[in-house]
Each structure stands twice: as C-alpha cells, then as structure tokens.
Symmetry: D2
Subunit: 341 residues, 4 copies
C-alpha cells in the first residue's frame, strides 16, 4: 500500500478523488491539506464521507510539508499550485497536479493566459501532460504530472485520431462544448446560484476561454502541425458531465471517407485503451452514460461537408480525479484500471 | 395611473413584482431604490427586463425619500425594513412591506424571533396582515400592509377553514412544507449553490423556523383559539413553488366527516375568492399548476385518523409579489384581479 | 372581440396559446378541438387552467367544422394538419398552422422530408411563412400562415441580417442548437422520460434534422442565395428554451469588421421590432431571460476567423404560440404586441 | 466465485444491481433474463454498460430456467414474480426477490393490497424479510429473501429503535415521504414525462399507498405491538433518493427525553451496522450524501410535542439493489460490505 496526500482537500474534485481512492486496493489516504487554518474533519465538509474517511484536514505549511507520503495530488488553483509542487518533487514525492501550472511546455504561453510569471520552470521541463491515452510511456517515467482540464480531455481525445492521421484541416475546427455546473467549482457566486443555472443554458467566455490554448498547444505538439480551434463553452443545468460537439473539415472528399472508415480509424487509434468507447454508427454519446465513470464515449459522423465528432466524459472523473488516479496507476505500475473499473 | 416605487429593487421578489406591474394597466413604476451606491439600470441586473424597464436604480436615502409616489413596495430584509417604512407612511404614501416587520400584532413575539427591538410600534398598530382572503375589509381601510411570507400564506390558507369552524384540534397540527430554491433569496451561499441543491432534498430549521410563530399568531388571532403547529420546511430542487402537506386531527369521528363535507366546507369558505381553487376529490395540487400565477390550489382528504390538507402556491407570486399587488388592488379599490389574471 | 378556435387543444403549445389568449383583450376562445372522441374539459387535461378556462373539448369532425370562429389555430402534427386546414380556409376563416405543412413554398422539398404527398397545393401557394420580423407585409394580406418551428425561428432570426447583407459565406454555416424537453412534445416515450433526460445532454438527428431544410429554404428565398447549414440539435435538461450557437465565416477580413459594426448591423436590421433584443458587447443571451416571453435575444461576437451568433427564445412562445399570436395580431390589424408584452 | 442471474434485467434496479455486481469480487453475472422475446445485449439497453457487460438477455422460459446459477435476483413486478420464484427455489437456487410477493407473512394482507391470490404460500412461509439490520440471523439461514421496498426501508430503519424501546405511541405516526422519479420505474407514462415532473412537486396516493401495510406489518411483527402509520408519498424532481420526515409522539414528557438521549438510543440500536449513519445534533440527512451508496442516514430531533425523525437513502441502492447485494453477502457468508463499501 502506498500513502497519498491531497493538497487542497475541499474542492469538488478532491471529494471525487477521495471516493475513488477509498476503493483503490493499493492506496491509503494519510494526509489532507487545506490552505485555511481551522482543522475540520473532511467528513464535516463532505458528510457523504462520514464513517468512510473522518480524517482531519491539516493546514498546509510551506515550511513543513508531509514527508511520509508517496504520491501528492495537488488540487489547488492555477498560479497557487506551483508554489507547492516543488516542495514535494524535491523530496522525491510523486506529484499529480490538477491546475494548469504544469500543462504547458512553454512558459510564455502559460504566462500570457494566466497573467503571472511561472516560478517553477524546472518543473515545467520534467512535467508530463497526464493524458494516458496519448502519453502513457512518458507518464511511466515521470514524477510530475500536469493533469489535463475537463474540456481539454474531452476535446483532445475526440480530435487526436483525425489530426494524427492528417485527415482534417487543423486550423478550421469548431468545438461547441457543454458542461455541468460542478465545472465552475464549489465557491458560491452568482454564476453557481441554483436559480441562475437551473432552467437555463448560456454560452460564456465566447471568443477566448483558457482551455483553448491548452488544447491547441497539446494537439499541435502531439500531431506536429499548427492546430487552431474555435472553442465556445456552455453551462448546462446538471451537476456533472461534459459533451463536446466538434465540427471539422475533411481534407479529402467525404464521399470517399465513410462513417465506417472513420469508425475504424477511431477503433484502431484507441485499441486496447480501457476507458475509451467508440460508439457504433447509430449511437451517440450521452453524458448520463459516462457520469460517475472514467469513460470517454466518442462518436464520429460524416456529413456532406464536415465530420462531426461527439465526445462525452464526467468532468470530475475522466476530466479530473479519475484521470489523476489513472495517471497514478501508470506512474506506480499498478494495473491502469485499478480503482476505476 | 398611480405611481409606485420599489424599495429593495434587486430581490427576486422585486423582479416578479416588476413583471406583474408592467402588465398592470393602472400603475406606472417611477422609482426603484437600492441600498448600494452605484446606480445600475434594473435591466442590467435582470436582463429579462431589457427594453421593458430600463430605469436606473436610486440609492435610497433616509433623508430624502421619493415623494411623488402613491404606493411603496418595500422588499428589504426584516429589521431593516422598519427603518424605512415610517418615512413613507408619514408622508401619506401607502406601504406594502414584504418583510416580517409588520406581520405581528405583538412586538414581544417579533422581538423574540427576530432578536431586535422593534422601532416602529405605531406602525405595528395600524398595519394589517395582507392576506386578502382573510382580511379584505381591513386592507381596504389601511395604509400599511405587512405582506405575508410564502410558507405562511400556503399554510394559513390551508388551515383557516377547518380552524374557523372549530373542527380540528388546534394544537395538534403538523405542517410538512416543501419549497423551491428561490425562497432562499438571491445571495450566493453554500445553501444556494447549484450542485448543493440539485439532485438533493433536505429538511432545515427542524424544530424552529421563523415562519411558525407567524402562522400560529395569525391563525390564533383570526380563529380565537390557541393554535400551535409543528412546522418542518424542506428545500426542493426547483426554482419556485411551495407545497404544504398538513396533517390535522378532527375533533369528530371522521366517519361522520366525509371528503365531500370537507370539500364543501372549503368551497363555501372561499366562495368568490378569485385566487383560491379547491381541488376535486380525485385531484391533488401540483406546484406546476400554480407557478407563475397568483393561485393557491388546495385539497383536503379525510383518512381514518386525520385530515390531510395539501396547498400549493408560487412562493414568489401568491407567496410574495402577486399577493402584494392583490393587496394594492384592494387598498386602491382596483378590481382585485387586475394585473394578476 | 374576435372568436378563435384551437384545433389540437391538448398539445403543450396549445396550453401556452390558451394562456396567452386568455390575457388578450381582443380575443375570446370559443372552440377547442381534439382528435379523440371523449369530451374532456381542457382544465381536466391542464389543471393550471382551472377556473380560467373550463371549456369542454370537441371531437373535430371533418364534416362539420366550427363555423362561427374568426381565427383557427391548428396545432396538429405535420401531414395531419393539411387534412384540416382547407376546411377552414375555404370558409373564410383565418388559419395559423403550427405544423410544417404550410412552411415550404416547394411541395417537393416538403415531400422529401415528410415522406407524404402534399394534399393542399393551393394552400401552399397562398400561405405565408409566419415570421413577422421578415414577412410582416405579406402576413397582413394573407389568410393562411405556416407558423415557423422553434429551432427555425431562433436560427433564421440570428442569420438573416448577415446573410441579407451578403457578409458571410452562405454555404459554410454551423448551427449548434440546444433545446429544452418540451420541444419533444407531450407524448410519453423513452426520450421524454424524466430519468433519461435529467442530468444528461445528448445530440440527436446528427446529420439530418427536419428543421435544416426549412431553415435553408426560407433563408435562401429571403436572401436570394443558396444557403446551406450544418444543423445539430441537442436535448437539454430543462422544460423550455432554445439556444442556438451559430458559427459563420465572414467574407471580409474580420479585422475590418468589428464587434460594434456587427452590433450596429443587427440593431439596424431589427430596428423597431418589439420582440428582438440585440445584446450589448459584454452580454450573452440566456434562455432564462426569454422563457415565458415572446422575445428573441441575439448577440454576435467577431473572432479571428468567425463570427459567432447566439440566439435564445422560448420554444413554446416565440418558437410557437407567442409567434402565432403575433401573427394573428398582424393579420387582424391589432397592435403587434397585444397580449404578448 | 459464485454465478448469479438477474430475472427482469431491464429495470432501473437491475442496472444498479449489475453495476454493483461488476465490482463484487466474489460474483460473476452469468445470466440475464427478460420477459420479451428479442435477445438484446444488456449494453444496448443500457449503453453505460458498454465494454463492461455485453451479455445478451435471454427470454425467460418457465419450462427451462437457468440451472447453473447460485443466486437469482428476481426484479419482476409484484404478482408476476411469484410465478417464477418457486422454479428457482425448488432447484436449490438462492433467491432474492425485489417484488412485494415475499414480503408479507400473511397472504391475506398481501391479497388485499395486490388484488391477486398468492400462488406460493410455501414460499411465503420460508421467506425472510431482507432488511439485514433487523433480520440478519434469519437471512443467514434462508434461501429466499423478500427484498424490502424503498419507502419501506427508509421508514422502518427510522422507526425501529423508538418502537422497539416502546417510547412512542405506535398508532400515531405520520410519515411524509419524498422520492426521486426513478422510484416510478422505467416505463414512459404521463407521470414520468420530464416536463410533468421537472419544476414540480406533488403528493400521490394520499390516503392509501401500498407501502403502508408493508411498513405496518413488519414493524408490528418486529416490535410486538400494533403499529399504524399515516403515509403520504411525494414525487420530487430528481433522479434518485428518498427522504422520509417522520413525526411521532413520545409516551413520556419530552423534557425528560433529550436530543442526546435519543441520539444515544439510535447509536446503540445500530451499533456495528456498517450502512447506518446516525447524524449528530446539528446535522440533517441529505439525499445527496447517500445517493450512489448503500447508506441510510438518520437523524432524530426532539421538539416540544413530537420527535421528528429524518431518514435518507438511495431508493435504487439501499432501497433496492444495494440491499439485495447486502442480503446476498449475508446469505453467502461474504463480508456484509463486499462490493458496497
């Protein structure tokens, strides 16, 4: 059994992480850190954990971080996270960071979007982007993971096969994304008030969401071409789940590219991946089929002028905590599915 | 056309009030007051009002209140409201106050529950409880209305007929109440966060909610007996609507009191009241039938040991703003239904 | 006062229509027709109408249609509607038909999508497409309206200004549409089961929805060019409301087309239209701002490669019954806003 | 590993059962039976199971039931179930039946409520009521379980401690129950239509729900007194979860019975039970804390005249499939928590 700590224990993603880890046979949660100075039991913050994990949360102290843990999950906000990550990596503790701080290979790009100087450039250099379906070998060898965002995971997994094969125009991609409200975090604000979200749908950050550069950056690196997307996120009245509807332009006449060709391409690309499910021709991904799971369901449909790709994940699981555990499993050489399937 | 002002314009109840008044042929909204010092247009706060009412909100100034209005709707919180109400009544402006500050005939009772000394005892003396179905004649003659709360309206309207006829034990009453989230107000807090309310039901204030003394007070006064209730409110994942399920004990063997007797009693008691609908034997009130309306739907069902009464209203309309307009109509001698039906 | 009948009285759109008409000062509902043979009171089907409209529904008889009505709203399904419409128009009764049967100028196109021969080609010839913002003059002169669909209304209103000015490529348009569940009708089926819709989002009819040809047909006719769209509808867990997110490609470098240029274009195009609201630069349409109203809120945002247009309506009001009443107002020379604002 | 079959595989409870069993280390699902004659794969009916369980469903044939299973879960409707159960028990297969057919010790009572003659009276005699917190020893020894209903589980667990100690009047109990929509089953009907359930709350079966006799029967048998309840269920706009608010009258002056006395009573009564969590004084059960778990959260609050008990469960887990697996674990001498915690 390895010992794990969660730094930032009161986020929604941390609750999901705890629930997954409690069912993970190789892991014991030994440390919960928060930035506040009271010491609440985690089960007072999340009563669903009562009798399952009644551990008190500790105030995280940069001078004295917990040393007897093997893996640290950092669920702090971007720009805060990088203040803590090096404290762990320097001590040889494996780190899986949920923020954007270790997702970019390029500090300039990071600084442009997060408006703050990056203070851990050596971390950036060794960090691996934690999408196991694309970076499994690198994840096996690293001690520091930049765990992908939720919109990012759904979008990259949907686009990678067609981009990798060079079948679509990489700069003419539209991603219309829909997310449940937990994606907005646990802080009460007007945008998370029940009566403002319920019976409503709206777009936000039209023309510039922080997840677009992450998607473009990773897909460009991975597929060796300039990838450029138009990304519009929407808020949906449901707790969890993301659906991305993606419109791409095939380079070749679509009459020569059939639904079944594209279906086979996806099946082959993700062959052996336990958490990717490619839908059959007459099916579409539904968020209700993936919530509370680490699956990403994907369908692709060829139309006269476009290929439409649909991908669905649970934003808190495959889009955050499930993926983090999948990364831990790969890093620690456990079976990739342990605790997740 | 009379001129009306709304003091506390940014509450959810104010939005509903504005929408009703915009369709009221006898009324013009000329003043919107807020306690903050910026001067936003009301349609910037509530974009649904765009092009319908783009009036700027004024900072309410106790030294200089608007004088050229005929009716003031005060939608400020309890204990704040009584600081403003006298400023209007002293100038001969009719006031309909949404807070609890003018709902009690007894300042002691008020002070016990609201933990603050009442500063307008002369107001209390002249104020009328604004439930038109029970106090219509008094409403016609007053200049100051204590507009009832939402739970209170649903409960009093459901209980009044049986209590008035002395048919039930007045101190053995259970009110199990269920409310949509708008009843919690517009302020973002943990208890109004979408993910905390959605896919959840919970009771709150078990054993002591501020609405119980109001209900007991008014029903005791109105029906001349000590009324005592056990009131438990619940939060329901919907925007608006209240359902009260009320369990009372008949004084007489229920085999002698049939469903149709009780049905007739209710029909007679509310005869001519345009906003009370008594359901037939095989029907039950549903909040979806009353939301966005000023109706209160009521059913009573006789069982072996109890009579079960169900009542449904829209908490923002019959439980607040619709009732306020109904009160204004009665006070100003308009047809009671104007703007509401 | 004119007399109106509703043929197909038990649809969700009919309920909304009745509610609007009950507040319309120039109209009296005198006839409710259904295709079943029992004669339920409409308020037994929709208890929200109790005491407001307790009229019994009549079985519609092709031999003996009601003659003493001035306007008939036909809310029957496509291919059924055209069996009834001529019976009314032949008697000089104005007809507003909610189905697709009178929305196409071209019976071939209709027959291709609705798989049935059109039996009223003379009706088709005189019918006007009931989008008052585009066809007001024609509506004034006709006796037969093909009332637009909900997706169609939101899409056409969003695209018309840019297409009319020739500013975008008319065959490279993507419409990502999101609708509440009432758009699926009142029939209980797997796709309308609460637990299948709640906490879920999914796309449907990917690559071929009946509303695309209607949109393309009307926009092509109106703007004199071949318009071709990629339309993907999604089902959202809410009762009502439609949001369309539309991606178009400007013909001219967008650096020369600013947000404010496009904003002005929309403002000018819909100048004087009471139900169109163009959002300011920093605002986006939200369905909660338009539900229960006849408004269409529209925003346009210029990005590097695209213009993104957002439009929101209530599918049952501006997308059906409110628009029908707006059409009636124009046909009958009432103020266009009567009963709607 | 034991082999299990599910007879009635397409119910919502079966989906939950399958998900639990897929994570159960001692069990393999080898048979799925349905009453229809097509042979769909279970993952075509429930796409969330894709790649996890793609087993085809078999038509259940009374002549030829599957013999090589160790445990049969029967999820058929009441009155149908008893036609199949004996076929399994006669072959020595352990049966856990989800219907009401084996929950009563008294066929008369069953027949009075289910309007059908009971055809397996010998089954009734050996069957044990599958509430492990009350009948664990009996469950260990039986081969046939009548698995309790969802409302029943929540109510009996809440009332048993106070009734067992004789502290409350057993014939003056009010149970106000609230359930999510999955409690109504998977069949599409008006009462499960999204738009009829969403943004609505209503009571149903007021004055006579089938679960009252089950609750009264079991509690009377278990606590040796005549128990009589007033039970009113309500439908809540959420997928899953039940909250019961229960009002009981203490026999002794409640001033002598404090919150902490009652709290201790409940703690002692359920001491060692892994799935019962007694809330502290300042806490109340919330359905969101128990959904997707086998927990029952209970709180009791002493007021002037009553004790109010609140209990929350997931209707599909502790109210059906989780409890069934808990029963299987006890019957098969696995750890009671296996697959559930």
């Amino acid at each position: 059994m390895i010992k794990v700590g969660i730094i930032g224990a009161t986020a929604y993603t941390s609750l999901e992480l705890i629930k997954i880890l409690l069912n993970h046979p190789e892991v014991k949660i030994t440390y919960l850190g928060i930035r506040k100075t009271d010491r609440p039991r985690i089960s007072d913050i999340f009563p669903s954990l009562k009798t399952r994990l009644d551990l008190p949360c500790e105030t995280i102290d940069q001078e004295e971080i917990p040393k007897d843990i093997d893996v640290a999950f950092i669920t702090l906000p971007p720009t805060i996270s990088m203040q803590y990550v090096p404290l762990f990596t320097q001590r040889g503790i494996k780190v899986i960071d949920f923020s954007a701080d270790y997702r970019f290979r390029d500090t300039n790009l990071y600084e442009q979007w997060y408006k703050k100087q990056h203070t851990d450039s050596s971390g950036i250099e060794t960090a691996v982007y934690g999408l196991p379906e694309l970076y499994k070998e690198e994840i096996k060898k690293t001690n520091l993971i930049g765990n992908p965002g939720c919109y990012t995971t759904a979008t990259i997994l949907a686009l990678a096969p067609l981009l990798a094969k060079g079948l679509i125009y990489s700069e003419d991609i539209i991603v219309d994304a829909k997310s449940g409200v937990s994606g907005r975090g646990r802080e009460p604000k007007e945008g998370t008030h029940y009566c403002e979200c319920n019976e409503n749908i709206e777009a936000y950050s039209v023309g510039g969401h922080r997840h677009s550069p992450e998607i473009e950056h990773i897909l460009s690196l991975k597929t060796d071409q300039k990838v450029s997307i138009q990304f519009v996120p929407h808020l949906i009245p449901m707790n969890r789940g993301i659906l991305c509807t993606i419109y791409v332009k095939p380079k070749y006449r679509t009459t020569e590219t059939s639904d079944s060709d594209v279906h086979k391409l996806y099946k082959d690309f993700y062959n052996g991946e336990p958490f990717i499910r490619i839908k059959e021709a007459n099916e579409t991904p539904k968020t209700k089929d993936v919530i509370y799971t680490n699956f990403c369901d994907i369908a692709a449909k060829v139309t006269e002028n476009r290929i439409i790709i649909l991908s669905a994940i649970d934003n808190l699981i495959k889009g955050a905590s499930g993926q983090a555990v999948q990364n831990m499993n790969v890093m620690c050489r456990f079976d990739e599915k342990t605790g997740l399937l």
